[in-house]
Amino acid sequence: MYFSYLSVGKSCLLLQFTDKRFQPVHDLTIGVEFGARMITIDGKQIKLQIWDTAGQESFRSITRSYYRGAAGALLVYDITRRDTFNHLTTWLEDARQHSNSNMVIMLIGNKSDLESRREVKKEEGEAFAREHGLIFMETSAKTASNVEEAFINTAKEIYEKIQEGVFDINNEVTFSTLNTFCLLNQLGGVHGCRKSRFKLSGSK
């Protein structure tokens, strides 16, 4: 596809997490795609609903409307492309501006299997995360390294916030009798183009 080279691998991360497989070539995400998986936190079964948003610039206004009510986000860049890292600030501002201020954001440096082509050092990712109060991890959607951890740690963080009462779940939940909260998964890319959101719905 025309812009596929822009991909930092959001859709691949999602596929690895939900289906445990890797597909190197993905169709361009149009608007948003969805994924879901059951996980267990504190002995409770929780359904993660993940929104994988389009990274291409023309969808940006559309994907902004998906931020609303999200409880968490993965902000993803590609460690082999410096430009995707440089655009993180823009994406972060955009996400914070259009979402819940308590939203948990995890910074992900994807494609860690491509060590030989690395352009962004791990320390730089860590420093950025520290500076902006984010959790940080490097993942590989190809080898599945840290993918599980990235999603589950974010979910745990949100779960803790809910336990603390930071999220007013009743207000966030617009459907289903289960406790529902959203996880916004945002990914940086060229022109700051990559983001995907996901929604978590949890049951007690």
Binding site: I30, G31, F34, E57, S58, S61, S65, F175, H191
Partner: protein
């Protein structure tokens, strides 16, 4: 029947959003900045295309005007030459000889100048053909692309609309979203294809115009150089043969009334080498004594 009804509704909705986008465009309402920004490369190419279109038109007009001016200039030059010759024949001094020789040279130059018209009309024809064929062909592609662009942006508006309250757990909503998503995907595919086509065509258009110009202008340049060589050679020969003649120097010339010939004498003299210049002025003064005021001759 049900699916037929559905597709009719779908078409209606599609038309509605396309019309909405057309209205936004026509009324000049602010469009989604991100959507506009994502077409930046395309819009830059369109800018280039319009510049090619405009400058080709301007070039044609300029060539036409240039052709006319060359004819006028040649006519005037010829008349001036004839005038100098006739004045020269009445003057039995050395100045008379000078005038006659210069007059001859000017007549020669006026004929040679017309040679420029051939490469120029060739250039005109080539640019005209380029405009009719290449530019209008690209223009058609641009128009088709704009239609797909409107469709795509309309579909994006639609998608934005259905995204406002999207819940993947609600089947009804998802069904609608999938329908719009398919529409966006389809429109995007069409648009992206035409987008690539337009970008490639405009690049090709620019390159082929450069190619055309460098080809045709070479002939023009050669002809022009040839013309300059010939005339300057003639002028140089006159200059050589009049060496040692009494030089004239005019410090100030002021005139009230100028006849047609005098006028051209002044105009032409500015582009002529020194001997011709002197001869022209001399002739002008002699032929119209009384019309000139305060003309000083310093030997």
């Amino acid at each position: 029947l049900h699916t037929h009804k559905k597709s009719v509704v779908n078409k209606m909705q599609q038309k509605y959003w396309k019309t909405k986008q057309t209205l936004i465009k026509v009324t000049g309402k602010k469009e989604d900045e991100h959507v506009v920004a994502s077409d930046a490369d395309l819009d830059a190419k369109l800018e280039l295309f319009h510049s090619i279109q405009r400058t080709c038109m301007e070039l044609l007009k300029a060539i036409e005007l240039y052709q006319k001016r060359i004819c006028f200039l040649s006519q005037e030059e010829n008349e001036l030459g004839k005038f100098l010759r006739s004045q020269g024949s009445q003057d039995k001094t050395r100045a008379g000889k000078m005038m006659q020789a210069t007059g001859k040279a000017l007549c020669f130059s006026s004929q040679q100048r017309l040679a420029l018209r051939t490469p120029l009309s060739r250039l005109y024809q080539e640019v005209e053909t380029f405009r009719y064929r290449a530019i209008s062909d690209t223009w058609l592609t641009v128009n088709r692309m704009e239609q797909y662009r409107t469709e795509y942006r309309g579909a994006l508006l639609w998608m934005k609309d259905v995204s406002q309250e999207l819940d993947p757990d609600l089947y009804k909503q998802m069904e609608k979203f999938r329908k719009v998503q398919a529409q966006v995907r389809h429109a995007k595919l069409n648009f992206d294809k035409l987008k690539t086509d337009v970008c490639q065509k405009v690049d090709l258009l620019g390159a082929s115009r450069c190619n055309l110009l460098s080809h045709v202008l070479t002939t023009y340049q050669t002809t022009l150089l040839h013309f300059w060589e010939k005339t300057s050679h003639t002028m140089a020969a006159i200059h050589e043969s009049f060496k040692g003649y009494q030089p004239y120097e005019f410090t100030m010339l002021k005139f009230h009334q100028v006849s047609k010939n005098n006028h051209s004498a002044l105009c032409i003299s500015l582009v002529m080498p020194a001997p011709a210049y002197e001869a022209v002025l001399l002739a002008a003064i002699r032929s119209s004594t009384g019309e000139w005021e305060n003309s000083e001759k310093i030997s």
